[in-house]
Amino acid sequence: MKPIKHVFLVFIIAILFCSCKDTSKDTSASSSDVTTETQSTERTGQAFIEDDGSTTVLSIAMGSKDHTTLVAAVQAAQLENALVNAGPLMVFAPTNEAFAALPEGTVENLLKPENKDALANILKYHVTPGNYSKDFLKKFKKLGQANNDYVKVEVVDGEAMIGGAKILASIKAGNGIVHVIDKVLLPPTE
């Protein structure tokens, strides 16, 4: 409980400054800046509209039992708003099993706050601005991904393979499409 007491103290001090604001405008101005800053935008935006009634590539992933790791990763990287935009967006969604197949400790490591950028880069490598059915994807040789890299598209046994991953299922969303894949796509390293 001690920290709370400290917080309490800080605010008492704030009251004091505030009540004598007429004589010390600068002080209260700086405290207002702090207040504005703490009104974080991290959890605002289109992803957090309630009762919207439309499905998005994000809401589909969030509703899937097979994608809890992916959703946790999206949340850790704070990419929610990027996935609810008008798009169109095509998300290649690796299953929990696909994440589990990565070398031990990889996911845990990526979920650490200090690796947010690396995680975001990998996740954005799973997102294409576009909306193509599994069949239609066969028309492509490569896809330009949201992290600025390309992922290769090959046709193996009459099916499109995305960066070596197989499409297990496809779910249409209001703002695009989710292709469930069996492998995590790793961006090319320079």
């Binding site: 309490f8 101005a29 935009n85």
Partner: protein, 652 residues
């Protein structure tokens, strides 16, 4: 648990004290939470906003006038669309404004307003705006706030990379989005590649009256020309156009136009081409395009069909056209206030690419070419690159500048505006928009001298921002204070139509020029009536011309007899008022066009074709006076074979 509750309560109490304290000191810039922002956008009753914003109406075809920072809408100016609110495009005087080579086209998709400039600074004389669909450029007067001129752009289709102004308003430039056969002909769409052309039109602007004339069109390879901006300062004399679909695909562009890793920014040395043309260069090509001009003295527009246009092939003028490789289907093409940096925003890229004008000149001089396309040299990408902003967001679209060395770019997919520094390319700040932002505007933000206090983002999606109004909602815009290091969101406001782009300007440059009335002494309308003595009715076969006046609170004449079924009645009505803001309206029962709203000193004509025998009323629609409800009249309509003579009267 209890302790936590107590603490929370205490904190809430503290906030209550804190905010109430702030309310006691409204004039102070200090304070907390939203009350501070409320002050920043509050324009007290009777006070004026500090800036005008001219926001395009997109598919409304019009231009709306807003005040900043309040976000209040002052006026909708009809441009490309008929407007029953005041009769624009319905009255005989304004119908010619909407004539095209395709006939009367009463709507368009208005996109990019741009304010006229002198020496790179906004001069507040005119706003130009493009009609995207049936290619046209309009000029709107900032003294009358009315559309004064519309010129059609031939050989163009999807007039998107328009209408941007060179730094002394020498030209308003219009580039085609679609490439098409030039001249048009009946060929297979499959023959696109190599056969279709993209016309970039340089429309000269007469410095005194603003009248537009197509000086020349550069017939470029069959790419899609997306957006453009002029060079300024050191790069004045050049114009830059982003291109996509350099693959020259004619189907399924979302796949086939994204195959090349890089498309181009086309750099056009228009001064060089201008010189070539002035010396007789180029070819006059037969074509057809309408040029419509409105005259403030006759209060009447005329439409002229032009029959030829001068075209120039880029290879005819060596050293005038180059292609700068730019990653991934660049959309926005923005030039910083100094003219050094050309920002190309690859809409499928995560990075922003910035080219250097100095390096471009060097690459041209030293022939650092990477190849050529249709004999146009392609400059070496690295040779021109100034730098890139790495992964600032997703889906970059448009960039504007604050004049303090910073750039602000919108990101559609990640729904945000990112502030970054020119030269170091570092990201300084980012703020979300609500939602899916397209363009942004800083007053003067695409000129040599931005005014840089405010920035507003124009969004494509509204969702929960306002009270819901069914499936269709007005788009939202957000106003930010950009005077500090960090952007601060101040206000949400709805916009009308599709607010595609906007131009904004400090109010003091414009407001004192705003016209209050049209002087009756300067009215040169051929069918004006300046007094009761001028009022009359003249029959010309089936056409009946009524010369009428209106003043608080009657029409003269207000009793008309002798009109017959099958006649076409032209009400030529002059508003005799000479007081500011006393328009009168005119509405005729059963009129199948619109009402008229007639400004003080103006003459307007409404046509009416009576269908039925009887006595039919007309009245004033604009609440003009205490006796507004008395401002009315009757027209007696007799059978077609009746021999009742025309007669008219007032107060008899």
């Amino acid at each position: 648990m209890k302790k936590i509750l107590k603490s929370t309560l205490a904190i809430v109490a503290v906030f209550a004290v804190f905010t109430s304290c702030n309310n006691a000191d409204k004039s102070s810039n200090s304070g907390a939470l939203s009350s501070n922002n409320a002050e920043k956008v509050y324009v007290a009753p009777g006070e004026h906003d500090s800036h005008y914003a001219f926001i395009s109406g997109g598919y409304s075809g019009n231009l709306t006038v807003y005040g900043l920072p309040s976000g209040r809408m002052f006026k909708e100016i009809p441009v490309f669309s008929q407007f029953p609110t005041n009769g624009y495009g319905y009255s005989e005087e304004t119908k010619p404004m909407l004539e095209t080579s395709y006939g009367f086209v009463p709507w368009d998709d208005s996109h990019h307003p741009d304010i006229s400039q002198t020496k790179g600074k906004l001069d507040g004389r005119w706003v130009f705006i493009n009609g995207n669909n049936t290619p046209r450029i309009a000029r709107i007067s900032l003294t009358t706030f009315e559309t004064e001129e519309i010129i059609e752009v031939p050989n163009s289709a999807g007039n998107h990379s328009s209408s941007f102004i060179t730094e002394n308003t020498e030209y308003v430039v219009a580039g085609t989005r679609f490439s098409v056969p030039v001249p048009q002909k009946d060929i297979s769409i499959k023959d696109y590649k190599g056969n279709f052309k993209g016309a970039l039109s340089f429309i000269s602007v007469d410095p005194e009256h603003g009248h537009m004339d197509i000086k020349f069109q550069v017939l470029m390879p069959g790419f899609n020309y997306d957006l453009s901006h002029p060079g300024r300062g050191k790069s004045h004399g050049w114009f830059f156009f982003t291109t996509y679909n350099t693959e020259e695909a004619n189907s399924l562009l979302e796949v086939n136009a994204s195959q090349n890793d890089k498309d181009f920014i086309a750099a056009i040395n228009w001064k060089k081409i201008e010189e070539y043309v002035n010396n007789g260069g180029g070819t006059m090509m037969p074509t057809e395009y309408a040029h419509n001009v409105y005259d403030d003295d006759t209060h009447t527009a005329t439409s002229t069909m032009k029959k030829e246009v001068r075209v120039v092939n880029p290879t005819e003028v060596p050293g005038a056209v180059y292609l700068i490789p730019t990653p991934k289907s660049p959309h926005g093409c923005d030039v910083d206030p100094s003219g050094e940096y050309i920002v190309g925003n690859g809409k499928l890229s995560a990075n922003l690419t910035v080219h250097s004008f100095t390096k471009m000149l060097d690459a041209i001089k030293n022939e650092k070419f990477a190849g050529e396309a249709y004999d146009i040299p392609i400059l070496n990408f690295e040779g021109v690159l100034a730098g890139s902003v790495e992964q600032p967001g997703l889906g970059p679209l448009h960039t504007e500048f604050d004049g303090k060395g910073n750039a602000y770019t919108t990101f559609f997919i990640s729904s945000e505006v990112v502030k970054w520094k020119l030269g170091t390319w570092e990201v300084i700040d980012r703020k979300p928009t609500y939602y899916s932002v397209g363009h942004l505007t800083i007053p003067g933000g695409n000129s040599a001298e931005p005014f840089g206090k405010y920035m507003f983002a124009m969004n494509k999606i509204t969702k929960d921002r306002y009270l819901p109004t069914g499936p269709e909602m007005e788009h939202s815009a957000q106003l930010y204070d950009i005077s500090g290091d960090k952007m601060e969101l101040l206000l949400d406001f709805p916009t009308h139509g599709e607010p595609h782009y906007a131009a904004a300007i400090p109010a003091e440059i414009v407001k004192n020029n705003s016209r209050k009335i049209f002087k009756l002494s300067e009215n040169e309308h051929p069918k004006k009536a300046l007094s009761d003595a001028d009022t009359k009715i003249v029959r010309d076969g089936k056409n009946v011309h009524v010369y009428m006046t209106m003043i608080r609170s009657h029409f003269s004449p207000d009793n008309i007899e002798g009109v017959k079924v099958g006649d076409k009645v032209f009400f030529h009505i002059t508003n005799l008022e000479q007081d500011f803001d006393v328009p009168h309206g005119f509405a005729m029962i059963g009129a199948r066009n619109a009402e008229l709203l007639i400004a003080p000193g103006q003459t307007r004509t409404l046509t009416w074709e009576p269908q039925k025998v009887g006595v039919w009323p007309f009245y004033c629609t604009d609440f003009c006076s205490a006796l507004h409800q008395e401002m009315q009249g009757y027209v007696r309509v007799s059978p077609a074979n009746s021999d009742i003579e025309l007669s008219w009267s007032l107060g008899e």
